[in-house]
Symmetry: C4
């Protein structure tokens, strides 16, 4: 089996393992840029029954080119992101709980702590509400995303995360949920304690982000 | 063993697996419409000790027709729902944590996000408090339920979920808890941020609900 | 090995399994009324390393009569409860998270929902703060406990639960945590929604409690 | 393999097991005082892929003396603590969720309950925000830590915990998260209930701390 198809399968299984989805909601895709094939979760298939061969290969217009199942109804938003952001290799969509809290309020996730600065380099931005027609979701993401930030809150909807491969996109979705939880309760504690919470200064955020993404971090 | 009885057994086991119950509280049933037999959890039996043959078969008046144990004391509410809503094939009762928060406050779960619109097509309604006598619970459910919405909050009590089969009813109970958690924290964050949270407009909710329940979603 | 000693061992293991303790905090005991021996967790032994033979047998004055380890430093409170409430056969002490929230505030857990009425038959009461000297904790429990209610919040400390055997006492500790969580968030949601939360009326609580404890419930 | 190196490996694995980290964030170290070697997590290696031989041995200036990978970028803060607090044998750094809530607000975790008094003997203090340059983090820890208290909140950053060995430092990190969660919700419940929450009196805290750390507790 195609290596990327298998990776997309395994990356989809991380969503329930990380507690980012309930039911059949949520999906991960990955793109083979050379062959112009997107591998994506099939529509409405529960994670615990999904097999690697259920992962669907589609072209950028949604035509099925590999597999026998129908792709996620969200394929069009994934395809839009791949078409418009060339460096992206993996896309994730979830309604994870605490990120959805910010989505319900149409509030971005502010960058209060260094851990978020490391990974996101900014607040995690939010879009206005858009419906599920045509390219509306994709366009809203493009309009509001922050450079270098691998995730966005979709107003009244959920999360899209995107990075150079499916595994990194899942990681961004996980950390979005993680900092949504911290920041929700920080906003509550700050309010009760009459502390004015501020984001870290921009130059401090930059310092942490560059360290984490630079040569000094990891085994590069 | 009867196939439905086994399915009801397995659907009951999903309640602790999904974290929707503690102790012996909660129960799932399924109805065989042809034979007019309801299969339901036995009363007071812990999930971890329950065997498939412990599932009780009763007629619509609560007479035991299969098995040796006594049915859940809630059998009467299950039977009332089956008698009065012909399209229902499975019923679930829980006191899951976040749904119980709304129950304690006698507040419905508003439809803030598209994920809830997909599945419930509306707020999840709430009944006034009723006691456990005769048909009081069943009548309150019938009075307040929303067409197409597979779940309801029972004032100062818990949740009833119902759908065409036991598995789908358990899924509705799971998603009720999921959106109760999101919406509780959205109400708190909205209040603190001085954002006036509104439900999605009715026509938008309809759009998502129809997509999710229509031919475009899943492998139909 | 003595059967009760083994049961006390297994009941202690339920505390980490149910997420009611962290570290070495928390303990379960059971009493053999005929032999006047209390079996209790040894002091400071992590749950994951504890063996059945580590359970200590003591007399009512704390003298070790079985086993080689020292009993929990809380043995004196367990013994006090056994001496003063003859129908109790098992005692549990925890600092479980949401019950500790009520303890920190010295606020009882109000009876908002029927699930709590079933098991506790009232609010879960709270004691004032007392230190760990002599019988102070035991006396505070005796002074504030509610008849029929198998649990109490110890002001600025944690939970004591007690019932006819160790397993039932652990169950009471579990359900104390469960309703503490529901009621904490109900108080928050009620406040934000400007709903005045009231306990269920006393006669309604009684109705549910008597049903749950009566012949109609379970396989009695 | 060196025994301490293996222990540091296993102590690092406790972080994801206890839910104290997400992704590659967080790290544990231990020092061999005789050989002046610090064993520490390698930089950017996911916990689920890390092998015991990936643990890096460094001298107090960060030179690699054992292993082939680069140490955590946080090694300099670990080394500073070892140099300046001679009784410390293990150090842990996390961004655990509820501790990070206090970090985001730059608020210490007050000592509301006896369980915290047992272990920490005081509030868990907080530092002002400092950046990741040179000894800034280490100096802030030294300036704000409380004698006998094995943990500190790093303003807008996370947690450092330290104790006589790596396992005890991980335990302190776990309990920091535990009481952060209790105390966050206690602050909220107190506020809503118009209760003025106070710390336990200093002499009461001392009494519990001394009992827990004295000869009476555990199997000493």
């Amino acid at each position: 089996m195609n290596q990327l198809r298998k990776r997309v399968y395994q990356a989809n299984l991380l969503l329930p393992e990380y507690g980012l989805v309930a039911g059949t909601q949520g999906n991960v895709s990955g793109i083979d840029r050379k062959r112009k094939i997107i591998y994506i979760k099939p529509s409405g298939v529960p994670y615990e029954k999904m097999k690697a061969t259920d992962i669907v290969g589609i072209d950028l217009n949604g035509n099925i080119v590999e597999g026998t199942l129908k792709p996620s109804v969200d394929w069009i938003h994934h395809a839009f992101i791949y078409k418009n952001i060339p460096e992206i290799g993996g896309v994730v969509h979830t309604h994870s709980v605490f990120a959805s809290v910010f989505a319900a309020c149409e509030i971005p996730i502010p960058c209060f702590t260094t851990g978020q600065a490391d990974i996101f380099g900014s607040e995690i931005p939010v879009t206005e509400y858009v419906d599920n027609k045509a390219d509306n979701i994709g366009k809203a993401i493009l309009k509001h995303r922050k450079p270098g930030c691998p995730s966005i809150i979709l107003g009244r909807h959920g999360v899209f995360a995107f990075d150079e491969n499916p595994e990194k996109a899942v990681f961004a979705a996980l950390m979005t949920e993680y900092f949504a939880k911290i920041n929700l309760f920080a906003i509550i504690l700050g309010k009760i304690s009459k502390k004015t919470l501020k984001e870290l200064p921009k130059y401090e955020i930059k310092k942490w982000y560059e360290r984490y993404h630079g040569k000094g971090y990891g085994q590069k």
